[in-house]
Structures are given as structure tokens and as C-alpha cells.
Amino acid sequence: MVQNNTATSVPRKFLAPVWKQRLRTAWRITSSVVVTLFGLLALTFFIGRLLPIDPVISIIGDQADQATYDAVFKKLGLDQPLYIQFYRYISDVARFDFGTAIFSGQLVIEDIKRVFPATVELSTIGLLFGALFGVPMGVFAAVYRNTLFDHFVRVFGLIGYSAPIFWLGLMGLIVFYGWLGWVGGPGRVDSYYIGIVDAVTGSILIDAVMADEWEIFWNAINHIIMPGLLLGFIAMAYIARMTRSFMLEQLNQEYIVTARVKGLSHARVIWSHAFPNITVPLITVLALSYGLLLEGAVLTETVFAWPGFGQYLTNALLIGDMNAVVACTLLIGIIFISLNLLSDLFYRVLDPRTK
């Protein structure tokens, strides 16, 4: 969304009252979100229609007689015109009814509820690693510009951008699990621990603590550390690069010179004068990298046999289970839009210049 810069150039009295401006902004954001959501629905509907596999045959099998075929064909609403089918699709989605997943035999929405927390847990750990290392790296790269450290951060970031994450995962498994045995292998916990703690929150780390099963907790940590660090590395590359360029912009400002002339310590100039000014754009970057991590999770989960959303989507893709594919795609799209919207709102609330 484009920032409105008129406030700086036009005298205040010529502008509409503040509440009117805010209302207009709110209306613009809401309408754009609604339109994008509608487009999302249309696109996923279209993807569902492209399918070369006959949806009727995938339900009844190719041995069924013509009468059964016709009955199911009617029941699915395939005899109706497209716009009625689209209307039915939207109303199904509004009721969270995505139909039954063929390979699990359960409702798609139930499946997603089961697998989604595992992905959220993994992505959150990844984002934590990414922010924890990426932000300081970016800040120091900007402060010590063109030094060895800066070049190191740049090369590190370039590898993060360029390496296929599934390959890094496989190499990590070979070296740290296969050869060295430092970390747990595929899955969320060792197989004999599966199903011992009840899935209350869905996050196995929190669930194990709540059930007072510390052995399982440490085992889960051992399993999450590799995929978490890997996703963190991908996020770190992006976060460090953005932090560096935000910081450079601040360090060139005159108030930094003033602060230095006043005799403030080096650390104080960086952390309590320059850094607070980049927190707002940084939050946007963090929100966007969370979206990146969800994408990375699809491949990472396949490598680490992580029973999450990405693995579910991949399995559904491989057997052409369109109900599940459409639901997963729609869900990821909605998460992406929400993340964008959230970061936009953060920007407006936290940055006084947008008021």
C-alpha cells in the first residue's frame, strides 16, 4: 500500500479532517482485502477445476456403474453452471467445509487442525533463530561497514538466498544425524515417544512441559533444533540484509553526528538512538519473513518427515487430492494476506509519520 505523502507538502487546513482521512484509509484497506480475498477464492476455485482427474471417479472408483456415476455427478453439483458452482464453493468455504480428504478419509478441516500446530511451532522457532541472529548481524554489518565482518555477513546471506533448503536439510541430516549423531533424526520425537503426551496446544514442546514429561521435552528439542536452525538460517539471510540497509540509512542522518558530537558512547548512539528508529520497518520484515518460512516449511517438512502442514500438502499433491490441495493453498493465501495486513497496521500505529 502506497504511503500518503501529501501531509508533508499540503498545509493542514486544506486537508480533510483527521477522522475523515482515517475512515477513508480504513475503507481503502478493507475493500482491498475483500477484493483480494475474493480473487483468492476465484483462483483456488479455478485451480480445483483445472484438474485432469475426474473428481467423480476419484470418489467412486472406475468400477462403478453409470447410475452411481450420474448420482455422484449431480451430488457434487457438476451439472450446474459454473457461477452456481462457484457460489456453492464460496458458501462451503464460509462454513469451513472443504470436503473429505481422500487419503486420510477425514474432513480436510479436521486434518488441517491436526497438522497445522506442528508447522507453526517449527516456523516460530525458525523466526526466533532468524531474528536473534539476523538483527544483530545486520546492525553490526552496517556499523562496521566494508570490514571483514560486513563481507562475512554478505556472503552468509548470499548462501542463504541461493542454497536449496531441501539440500541443506539433507546434508544436515547426513552430517549431524548420520555421521555425528548430535541431533535427533526425522520426525518431531523418537518413534517410541509418539502419542504419549496429549495434544492440548498442538505444540509438542509446550504439551510435554504441561504433562511434566521432561524426557520427551528434551527429545523434542533435539528433533526441532536442526529444521529450526535451517529455517532460521533462511530467515536470517533476509532479516540481516534488510536490517543492514535500514541501519545504514539511519547512520547517515545528522542526528547521529549530533549524538556523537555530544559525546555519547558508541554503543549508546547505535542502540538507543539509531536502532529504535528501525524497529517499525523491522517488524514488517519479520512479518514477511514469517510468510517466507511457511513456504520453506513445505520443503523442510518433507526432508525431516515433520508431520505438519507442508508434508500434508505434499502428500495431497502427489496423489492429486484436490480437496486438500485447494484448502491448503487457500489457507496459505489467507495467512499471507493477514501477515501483510498486520504489518501494514503495525506501521500505521507505530510510525508517527503516517498519522
Binding site: S32, V35, T36, G39, L40, A42, L43, T44, I47, G48, L50, L51, P52, L158, I159, Y161, S162, A163, P164, F166, W167, L168, L170, M171, L173, I174, G178, G291, L292, L294, E295, V298, L299, T302, L313, T314, A316, L317, L318, G320, M322, V325, V326, C328, T329, I332, G333, F336, I337, N340
Partner: protein, 311 residues
Amino acid sequence: MKGKKTADERSSYKDSWRAWLRAEIAYSPTQARMQRLYFGWLRFIENPMAVIGLAIIVFICLVALFASLIVPGSPTAQELEIRLTSPSAEHWFGMDELGRDVYTRIVHGSRITLLIVLLVAIIAAPVGLAVGTVAGYFGGWIDTILMRTTDVFLSFPGLVLALAFVAALGPGIENAIIAVSLTAWPPIARLARAETLTIRNSDYISAVRIQGASNWRIIFKHISPMCIPSVVVRITLNMAGIILTAAGLGFLGLGAQPPSPEWGAMLSSGRIYMFESWWIAAMPGTAILIASLGFNLFGDGLRDVLDPRDE
């Protein structure tokens, strides 16, 4: 202008290309264009990382062109008695689970990777350019519809959208190329629209319009050519991402299908044996890393040349 050139100057240009390229005043449009390219090139080679990137790309192109000369064997030839043997002097990167030489397969796989990148660029760039220029030139509801569509495509992570399309179209390399192209055009459309907005109201467009040129003629003959340089840069910057997405599709079994020596697909077939025979998975992955690193370095250098804001 040609008359102003003295005989003296003309002979000195003949003597040295460099003087012709460095002349303070360009005497022809060709010379001006060449000078711009030359100074851009000088800026480009100042950046060692970018030169490394270019070298990697040239290297991969050469390998792809002369693949059958570099490795005479077929990428699908099998020697089952030495399957899964580790890297050696005869078989540099070892043998895979079906007794195929991994080195031969990687060399031939470079063709597939370059083909995917080129085809995606050829499909996505014109589509993005057309959508962006039309939206930017006409404005109004055409702009709203086209840009909202673009936003919808942009609201998915590239890989997930490509996965969904491949699921609907069916696995295979042709469908993978179509799916990746479908995810690659929206950023280009946005860029072309932004460029069009700055060009649309310029005097030369008004002049063409007064001469009676139709809207379509203006868009495709007078606006699109102006957008092409930035579109080319943008697609170059995106090529690393295209390589990674295509390899990801291959890895998940939805892109190129075995026995094709596509790098992502090779990686995925080596997975079962990876703990005993690390080279089956390690080698193709390194190839993907190097290729995408090359395009990333080159793209960064190119952007610095054309957009020197960072300096």
C-alpha cells in the same frame, strides 16, 4: 552532426575502439548506445562479486552447450555392477543407485536447468510486460482489475502457487515450466506498470497520439520498448528464485520425472541411499547452489550498475 567530425578524429577512432567508446561527444545513436554499455560494463567489472557471478553463468552455459563433448557417455547409461560406488578417478562424483555416473548426469542436467530458466523468462516477461503496460496506460477500471489480479497471485508464496498449479495440471517438466511462469509474471507486471505511469504523460507520447497512433500502437511500439531494460534486469534477478522453485518441484516429484537428469529430481532419488552414499544427494545440490549463486551475484551487480542509489 557527421560533418563536424574532422578527418583527424575519424582516423584516431579507427585506431582505437577505446577512444571511440570514450569520446566526450557521441556522433551517432549507435555510438551513444555503445558508450552507455561500455561505461556500464566498466562499473560492472569494478564489482568482483558480480564478475564471479557472470563467470559462473558463462561456465554453466558452456557446460550445457558442450555437454556431450565433456562427457561422452549417456546420462541414463547403467553399469549395475558398480552401483553406489563412491567418487573415484574414473567416476568423479560417484555412481548412483542405478549405476549411472553422477558427473555425467549433472553435466547433462545443466541443459535442463538453463532450459527451464530461459523458457520461464520467455513466457513470464512478455506476459508481465503486457499486463503492466496495459494497466498503466489505460488506468481506471482496467488498471484496477489487472492489478487486483496481480495482487492475488502475489499473495501466495511462489512455491505454493506453483505446487497447486502442477497438482492441477499434472506432474512433468512442461507443466512445471508453465506453473513457475504463472508465479513469475506478477512482479514484472507491477514493475512495468510503474514504468508506464512515468512514461504515459511524457511529450513524445502526446506527439505520437496527435499523429493519430492507436492506443495499442502506443503501448506496444512506444511504451513497451522503454520498459524492456528494467524488465530484463528484474527477470535476471528472479532467475535464482526460478532455479530454486523448479528444483524444489523436481525434488517433490512434481517437476521433471525420472530418469531425466534434472538436479532436483536427482536429489530426491538419492534420498533413500543418502546415509550410505552421500554423494548422490550432495553433488546435484551443490550444482543447484552454484547455479543460483551465480544468478544472484550477477543480478546484484547488474542492479548496482543500473540503479546506483546505494552508493
